[in-house]
């Protein structure tokens, strides 16, 4: 009942682990998958190892957390070894980033054979050196990156966008036009800032960090709702999903699948199983026979 297809990949349910959460090792990805996720997305990696920012990299705020981990990763060479250790049944998307279309394409082609999907992180709100949102806030750059990756690989490509732009629709259309097979909406919000009152210092070493958690849900939902009207490709909704109610809201708004991240802080990986059970109960109660029947129905009223 919960099975879906996203970009022709079959998933046992529409929940996915969001990039950047517990996604650094095959071991943790395997665990999350066994805990009920329909698919997992790796932590973003690129061509070279990156140690990220100094701590503090995460701090709690009202309604969620802000973080600036700084895209820490061991580089594609090492990450390939992790990917080899994934259980064969795990459906996995590699989240990759880079400073140029060429770097994106190069990293993509290196891992293509080892994953089911690629997710392009053009939207990290606190990345250094032209990576991250510097790309995803520019429709043309986004187009170039997607285009380059699509040329270099044959597996489906998902583009993850930032909400921190004046015109999200323009960028979503641009990614779709470049051949992106799906969109993930949204990367973390803001960014935000938290100041310690005793010292008057920003708590994060990077000062500002992307916001995630329940409070960003209304905004993520609006992004999905509006982009759904503008593009034909499927949308994966992410932002503040903590339970199956939230999942239903995203499906109704137009998401074909969802990702869960910050909720793991509260409930652990078992959240995926809880959501799947809740969603199935909801569908039975409301008479939905497949997830697809729920997608975008808020637009049909």
């Amino acid at each position: 009942m919960l099975e879906i297809k996203i970009c022709d990949i079959k998933l046992k349910n529409p929940t996915m682990l969001a990039a950047g959460v517990m996604g650094s090792t095959a071991s943790s990805l395997n665990w999350v998958y066994r805990s009920g996720a329909g698919a997992v997305v790796t932590k973003s990696f690129s061509s070279q190892p990156n140690k990220g920012y100094n701590n503090p990299t995460t701090v709690e705020v009202e309604g969620g957390i802000i973080n600036a981990i700084g895209l820490s990763n061991p580089g594609v060479e090492t990450f390939k070894k992790e990917l080899k250790r994934l259980d064969p049944q795990v459906k996995v998307a590699a989240s990759i980033y880079g400073a140029s279309p060429e770097e994106f394409a190069e990293v993509a082609s290196q891992v293509e054979k080892k994953v089911n999907l690629l997710e392009l992180n053009v939207s990290c709100p606190h990345a250094m050196g032209g990576c991250g949102a510097a790309i995803g806030q520019d429709a043309e750059l986004t187009f170039e990156v997607v285009k380059a990756v699509k040329k270099s690989v044959s597996i489906p490509v998902i583009t993850k966008l930032t909400p921190n732009v004046t015109d999200l629709i323009e960028i979503a259309i641009s990614a779709a036009d470049a051949g992106s097979d799906a969109l993930t909406l949204i990367n973390s919000l803001g960014p935000g800032l938290k100041i310690d009152l005793e010292t008057s210092r920003p708590v994060l070493s990077n000062q500002i960090g992307g916001m995630s958690g329940p409070a960003i849900k209304p905004i993520a939902l609006r992004c999905v709702y509006e982009v759904f009207k503008a593009v034909e490709i499927p949308i994966i909704g992410v932002g503040g999903i903590f339970n199956y109610h939230d999942v239903v809201e995203f499906l109704f708004a137009g998401a074909s699948a969802v990702q869960v991240g910050t909720a793991i802080m509260h409930y652990g990986p078992e959240i995926f199983n809880e959501i799947a059970v809740g969603l199935e109960k909801f569908m039975i109660k409301k008479g939905f026979s497949q997830v697809d029947d729920m997608v975008g129905i808020s637009h049909k009223i």
């Binding site: 950047g20 959460v21 517990m22 996604g23 650094s24 090792t25 095959a26 071991s27 943790s28 990805l29 395997n30 665990w31 999350v32 932590k43 190892p49 990156n50 140690k51 990220g52 100094n54 701590n55 503090p56 990299t57 995460t58 701090v59 709690e60 705020v61 009202e62 957390i65 973080n67 981990i69 820490s72 990763n73 061991p74 580089g75 090492t78 250790r85 938290k194 310690d196 005793e198 010292t199 210092r201 708590v203 070493s205 991240g261 910050t262 793991i264 802080m265 652990g268």
Partner: protein
């Protein structure tokens, strides 16, 4: 909010050994069930970086909490330069602590690994549990908490690599010797992973349940970032750990073999 550093004055600094200082903070907790447990850790922010540190003292009467830090690098050197009245950010407690089971335990701490072990010794003695504790270090002036644990009524057995105090040799050798004559309900341990690996083997050999406190690079400490996940279970040391039972440690294939740096690259011990 839990996951926000609480910037506090250092109430007291105790020089524990040549390289270790304990930093004491006022620690008022309204509900006694919110009190930290031995084996839990705090994230300490020195305004340049933030690192996980084991709780080395829990005093609910004086309402004090202590963190012991060994001077080994940039972060710890900066913290060692601080004076009483200076400030540090502190958030936590985090993770799963030691689980006190049985009426006679053996506690084994190696180096700065004595921090959570001493906390657990206090905890066990408060509850009338009989404790033999091995405090191990390279040399005598690095031995930690000897007097404190004696005052708590523990049977303290010093152990130095160079034999400058107590048993000469490794902690594992001392444990081996002890287990030939003594029965214990439980072994708890914290220290270098190779030491703990040896103790786990001995514990299994003698069929004694054991708990071990692990250390991994931490970033968020709230179970999100995945930095501290271990192979092959994927467990987060900050949530499912840092204390694991022996049977859990057996599933942690990287235990005693490697750990990951800030980029996630595996580094052998």
């Amino acid at each position: 909010m839990k996951h926000v550093p609480n910037v506090m004055e250092i109430k007291k600094i105790i020089k524990e050994s040549e390289s270790v200082k304990t930093f004491i903070f006022d620690w008022k907790v309204e509900n006694k069930y919110d009190y930290p447990l031995p084996g839990q850790f705090m994230m300490i922010w020195n305004f340049e970086d933030e690192k996980p540190m084991s709780i080395s003292l829990i005093d609910p009467l004086k309402e004090e909490l202590g963190i012991s830090i060994k001077k080994i690098g940039k972060f710890s050197s900066q913290v060692h330069s601080l004076k009483e009245g200076d400030k540090l950010g502190i958030r936590g407690p985090y993770g799963k602590g030691f689980d006190l089971k049985g009426s006679k335990i053996l506690a084994v701490g190696g180096g700065i690994g004595m921090a959570p072990v001493a906390t657990m010794v206090d905890h066990a003695r408060d509850r009338g549990v009989s404790v033999d504790v091995i405090s191990a270090s390279l040399t005598s002036n690095e031995l930690l908490f000897i007097e404190r644990m004696k005052n708590a009524g523990a049977n303290v057995l010093s152990c130095t690599d160079d034999g400058t105090c107590g048993f000469k040799g490794f902690a594992t050798d001392r444990v081996k010797q002890l287990l030939e004559n003594q029965k214990y309900d439980l072994i708890i341990s914290c220290g270098p992973e190779l030491m703990m690996k040896g103790i786990l083997e001995l514990a299994e050999e003698h069929h004694i349940p054991a708990q071990f406190s692990m250390e991994r690079w931490m970033k968020c400490a709230m179970g999100l970032c995945g930095q501290c996940c271990v192979d092959d279970t994927g467990w987060r040391v900050c949530v499912e750990g840092p204390v694991f039972w022996g049977h859990e440690i057996k599933m942690i294939t990287e235990f005693g073999k490697y750990h990951r740096d800030s980029s996630g690259t595996a580094k052998p011990f």
